[in-house]
């Protein structure tokens, strides 16, 4: 690899947070410090939110009910993603490329009362 191209073993530190009950799937913890690769090892492209979701299922989830987080390899409907406290639809959704220090918050929408 050329010296100007990042290698896939470089990692980016980010914060991943869960709310609305999703924290129960992730060690019952709201806030996680996570290091993700700068380049997705499978697609060899810059690591984005889509890759992060797969990464969380492979590495961070502690509950067997992964279908409460992903369905058909995508985030299940009814989960809001906030990138640095702003709705991910403003940022390109799954295509958003993760930056160092990003805070990514997954919120399960509630309907009870």
């Amino acid at each position: 690899m050329g010296s100007s191209e990042p290698t896939s073993c470089e990692t980016i530190p980010i914060t991943v947070e869960f709310s609305g009950g999703l924290e129960m799937l992730f060690s019952n913890k709201a806030k996680h410090a996570v290091a993700v690769p700068s380049i997705d090892p499978v697609t060899n492209s810059p690591f984005n939110i889509g890759h992060l979701i797969r990464h969380l299922v492979d590495n961070l989830i502690t509950d067997d009910r992964t279908d409460l987080f992903v369905l058909d390899d995508h985030l299940r409907p009814g989960i809001l993603v906030l990138i640095n406290d702003a709705d991910w639809e403003l940022e390109g959704e799954e295509e958003y490329e993760i930056q160092s220090g990003d805070a990514i918050l997954f919120v399960s929408t509630l309907h009870g009362g």
């Binding site: 947070e17 609305g20 409907p77 989960i79 809001l80 406290d85 709705d87 309907h111 009870g112 009362g113």
Partner: protein, 317 residues
């Protein structure tokens, strides 16, 4: 001034004096509350505290919609009901309590569930709607009607140890307008409901009383603020005194997480910034006048149960 010809009665002065002297309130704000009509949909864990504080603050008309009756298992959180009223319609039970708390407002019971058939007729009679319901299908229905009738919507939800709250459609703007930044509707923020398997109700999953209580009181706080400060009325040449609606065109979603094993901390409350009206929103976006109409809703289009997967679910249960 629109209320010049109405004076506060001695009773009103006495009852509301402590909130009228708060900076930013005053006689005019109190008169705005007295001239307001609020609809609370759902007389449960959210609706009980919401109704207590909205009624106590002195809104002129308070309508309450709910088809259920009071049950024993409601009473750990639904503090506007009582053991002696188990079996009574929730709207009647709650209004009994509210009338003794504050006899001045007009209370209107709607003792049935809100539906595609009746929603527009009911909501059209009010100035502001509070969504205190317990299921996704109803939440989409209420939001769609609020878009079409241009009503501000204070929406909250709560399950287990989590709560959420957001002010939508405030100040309301005509359906389909996208020439300026306008506030989002429920669909702008929550485009698709979760699959039925991931939707949990308070009955199935449980709920801490104080969690849903916090959200209900907070809802009342937002409703009172909107009506008292005229935040639901956009500034116009005929209404120049209305303050700017500040951050309501890109409102924050309040997230509350109650932790049974530790104290309050920096993650207990969070505020997440949501976008404004979305160009492609089914209910309020550019082409929405062709996809969502009052006539369509009354005729069963969209089908909210199907949208939320309830038919599919009920065939497998």
């Amino acid at each position: 001034n629109e209320y010049e010809n109405r004076r506060l009665t001695d009773d009103e002065f006495d009852r509301y004096s402590r909130q009228m002297i708060v900076p930013g309130m005053g006689k005019e704000a109190q008169l705005r509350l007295i001239n307001s009509r609020v609809l609370i949909i759902g007389a449960g864990g959210l609706g009980c505290p919401a109704a207590q504080y909205v009624a106590a603050s002195g809104v002129g008309t308070l309508g309450i919609v709910d088809g259920d009756v009071v049950e024993m298992s409601n009473l750990h959180r639904q503090v506007g009901h009582a053991t002696s009223r188990i079996g009574m319609k929730k709207v009647d039970s709650l209004i009994t309590h509210l009338k003794d708390l504050n006899p001045l407002p007009t209370y209107t019971p709607h003792p049935f569930h809100i539906s595609s058939q009746n929603a527009a007729d009911i909501i059209s009679k009010y100035d502001l709607v509070m969504d205190c319901t317990d299921n996704a299908a109803t939440r989409y229905l209420i939001s769609d009607i609020c878009v079409l009738l241009q009503k501000p919507l204070v929406s909250a939800a709560s399950v287990q140890k989590s709560g959420q709250l957001i002010v939508l459609n405030c100040p309301p703007a005509q359906q389909g307008l996208i020439d300026k930044p306008y506030p989002p509707c429920y669909r702008c923020c929550f485009r698709k409901p979760p699959p039925p398997s991931a939707m949990v109700t308070c009955g199935e999953a449980g709920i801490m009383g104080t969690v849903v209580g916090m959200m209900g009181v907070a809802q009342a706080g937002e409703a009172i603020k909107i009506l008292a400060s005229n935040l639901h009325k956009p500034s116009t040449s005929t209404n120049p005194s209305a303050p700017p609606s500040e951050n309501l065109c890109q409102p924050h979603l309040l997230l509350y997480t109650y932790d049974l094993a530790s104290g309050i901390g920096p993650y207990t409350f969070r505020a997440a910034k949501m976008g404004g009206r979305k160009k492609n929103c089914f209910a309020c976006g550019e082409n929405s006048p062709s996809t969502l109409t009052l006539e369509g809703i009354k005729g069963g289009n969209p089908n909210y149960e199907q949208f939320c997967g309830l038919n599919a679910a009920s065939t497998t249960l």
